[in-house]
Point group: C2
Chain length 454, copies 2
């Protein structure tokens, strides 16, 4: 559908109303509309405001909107949008629309977008923009400030100034604007720098690592340099914040056993939602079938002591729960670099006593429950009820210890073999512990109940 501004779908009042609010608030409103109406509205706005709106990563339908706008208009607006954001939008267009739009851009914008399009998603290269302030190292403070005044409108940030070697174009220093403001005008620009080498990153660095630099060094921007030390672009703090948020959403979803969603929940289609969930669910189901095999293996014990089956769900779930706890703790510790791979044995030394203590607490409660029901006449667990209770208690110690240990080691194992430790999901840990839990339970039962029930 092509939209035109000659037959406006919306009254001019609505356009006027949008202008009374901030672009970020406009985006919230536009997100609640179908893409056609959003495109119509954007077309009715003054170009500067339309650019500001398209500049917001929160505008989820931006690629659709750009495709719905008249191509000339779309190209004109994208030229005003920050290069990193324009690249993200173009990246999501289908191939014909992408080629069509790129062809209409002015050569300079097209070149910088094409340079950025080559970097894989979720890398520093895909987050960076080429609109930064750089000056030669021979300039003075005043020259630099003059230059900043000229280019301010076209740069994503002016709060970090990148000083380049005149010959090699390598990055020499990154200077915060605040240091320039209070420096002497005729002093050489490098006199305002601190003595440390600038913090930099490479274009293929993962966004999680980039976010860590911002957190650690409290930066407003990080330069992305090539192997020769030349600045390719910069990542600004607002993009780092968006990357952090996307990472933590992914972590929670992965921990819940879902493939990360690329869009908000309500915008995911039915088939796509099934696709994101069915894979893991089936994999877990197939693994969990081992519990049926384990149960079959202990069939004769089951038939002799049917009372044992009563506690299977209780015991298995305790193993899964203690495993989830340990996994969630270790995922974060590894993600925040509080722990290194080589610290795994320190974790084992903590989880072993922790698991035994937690298992003992649950074991005492479990034994008390069985004794209470028996004594109060609520249920008859048979003449060997005490031995049954002891079996449950001993099995709980074993299973909770196993759950804590395997739940805490799983993130280490994943990181060791090159996966994100955050891929360890609660359902996966529960499945891992369930099968072993059954084996522990029946093995303990065989020892304690031999000669009585079994």
């Amino acid at each position: 559908m092509e939209t035109t501004t000659s037959e406006p779908l919306f009254p001019a009042m609505l356009t006027h109303d949008l202008l009374q609010h901030r672009p970020a608030d406009n985006v919230e409103f536009l997100n609640s509309l179908p893409a056609e109406e959003a495109a119509e509205l954007i077309a009715s706005l003054p170009p500067e405001r339309a650019v500001e709106i398209l500049d917001q990563p929160e505008l989820t339908a931006a690629p659709e909107i750009v495709q719905l706008l008249p191509p000339e208009r779309a190209a004109a607006l994208l030229t005003g949008v920050a290069a990193d954001r324009a690249t993200d939008i173009i990246h999501l267009l289908e191939a014909p629309a992408r080629a069509n739009l790129l062809a209409r851009l002015d050569p300079e914008t097209r070149a910088s977008i094409e340079r950025l399009l080559v970097y894989p998603p979720n890398t520093a290269g895909s987050l960076m923009t080429t609109e930064f302030v750089s000056v030669p190292s021979t300039w003075t403070v005043e020259q630099t400030l003059q230059y900043i005044r000229q280019v301010e409108r076209t740069r994503e940030t002016i709060y970090a100034i990148y000083v380049l070697d005149q010959q090699t174009k390598r990055l020499v220093q990154a200077i915060p604007l605040r240091r320039l403001i209070s420096a002497q005008g005729d002093a050489p620009i490098l006199s305002a720098a601190r003595s440390f080498a600038p913090i930099t990153t490479s274009p293929l660095t993962d966004r999680e690592e980039v976010a860590r630099l911002f957190r650690k060094y409290d930066l407003l921007a990080v330069p992305v340099v090539d192997s020769a030390g030349r600045v390719l672009g910069i990542v600004t703090v607002d993009d780092a914040i968006d990357a952090m948020l996307a990472e933590s959403t992914e972590d929670v979803q992965k921990f819940g056993g879902v493939l990360a969603l690329e869009k908000p929940y309500i915008q995911i289609g039915f088939a796509q939602m099934i696709g994101k969930r069915a894979g893991w669910l089936c994999a877990l189901f197939l693994s969990e079938m081992l519990t049926a095999s384990a149960m079959q293996h202990f069939e004769s014990e089951l038939e002799k002591a049917i009372v044992l089956t009563l506690f299977i769900p209780l015991i298995m779930s305790s193993g899964g729960n203690s495993g989830s706890q340990a996994t969630s703790l270790l995922i974060r510790s590894l993600a925040l670099h509080e722990l290194q791979l080589s610290d795994w044995w320190r974790v084992v030394l903590r989880e072993l006593p922790t698991g035994i203590a937690l298992g003992a607490i649950l074991g005492v409660i479990g034994l008390a429950r069985i004794a209470l029901w028996q004594k109060l006449g609520l249920y008859d667990y048979g003449e060997h009820w005490l031995l049954v209770g002891l079996t449950v208690a001993a099995a709980l110690v074993g299973i909770v210890t196993f759950g804590s240990l395997s739940g805490s080691m799983l993130p280490f194992v994943l990181q060791r073999v090159g996966f994100d430790p955050a891929s360890a999901s609660a359902p996966f840990v529960a499945t891992l512990v369930d099968v072993t839990g059954l084996v522990i339970y029946f093995s303990v039962a065989t020892i304690i109940l031999r000669g009585t029930l079994l």
Copy 2:
């Protein structure tokens, strides 16, 4: 223990080495030392560097270090530290040490710290600093720039300038420094402002909400205003990033069924670790006891058809897994405000078909597994194996649907009754689904197997 600089524990070389690196890197090294040695080292550094190090929130032992330093020295250093950070450190001191230190601070520093100490943790008030740039609305751009040059060294940020009404001291505008830089010097300061009212927050606003403002409006600082509109302080983006990180760590830990840890995993004592985990684990264990009651209730069915017990773990875990998936998706959607409380019915309409479809997929796999084992002679499920298979398949559809529905509704219910939706943990969902899952399984079995096995 009092440390003195007259008998240095470390060679001067180590001090010199620290100065070659950034304060943030020094912090990483100091975190790896016992507090006594870290205090000794900090005492040996030039005061400006010691202040920069204490300024980093990542220095975990800062309160201990401050207590180990000679009181006069500690007070002198804290005067240089940003007011928000100094408040955090003093907040963590024991009462006598706190009073002792406060008494030694100069009146101005003490007053600003005491003002900040009243705000509860995790609020905008506890994150804010009082070191911001404010100017009267009657000034010109050049006057403001002159003033910024003077005060630059003592302000946490100069990239946002707060323009106050001269009489009432109310906040009129917040102007980014970049707009001043490119404005005419003799223009009134307010001419550099945009037409929108400034984004503000109140001192008791939760840090999660504050972080959302930064994300939405791409800010570098947010002013915290009282009910009369006067600026109490500002929250800067680096503190907002730390708050976001702490929130997402808390979310993952809560989702794993652990109370949020205040310190890194390896620094938590054994008793404290048990305390963080035992409460939830016991609560879940007690709820899960209902599964034993449910099993007791179906005892006669169990005895007649022991083959049914073989699939209990498999069926229950599938319910828990589908519930975890749904919960993790909805926790994030609610946290990111993609969905409102009133959208619950839209989610029901999505989860109902999704749950049925996922359950049907697992049901088909389950039935195939039973048929395959039976036909291949791997296990004999008896003459009614097909009915047993159908029972398992039908129960899976019911349980996965129930799991998806209850897992997705739990975060809504929690938010509705005033809890953080992120308090919904995977173990809690699993427990919720386990008991109902058993009832569904045996009810389906009673219907399908009546007259044959039951």
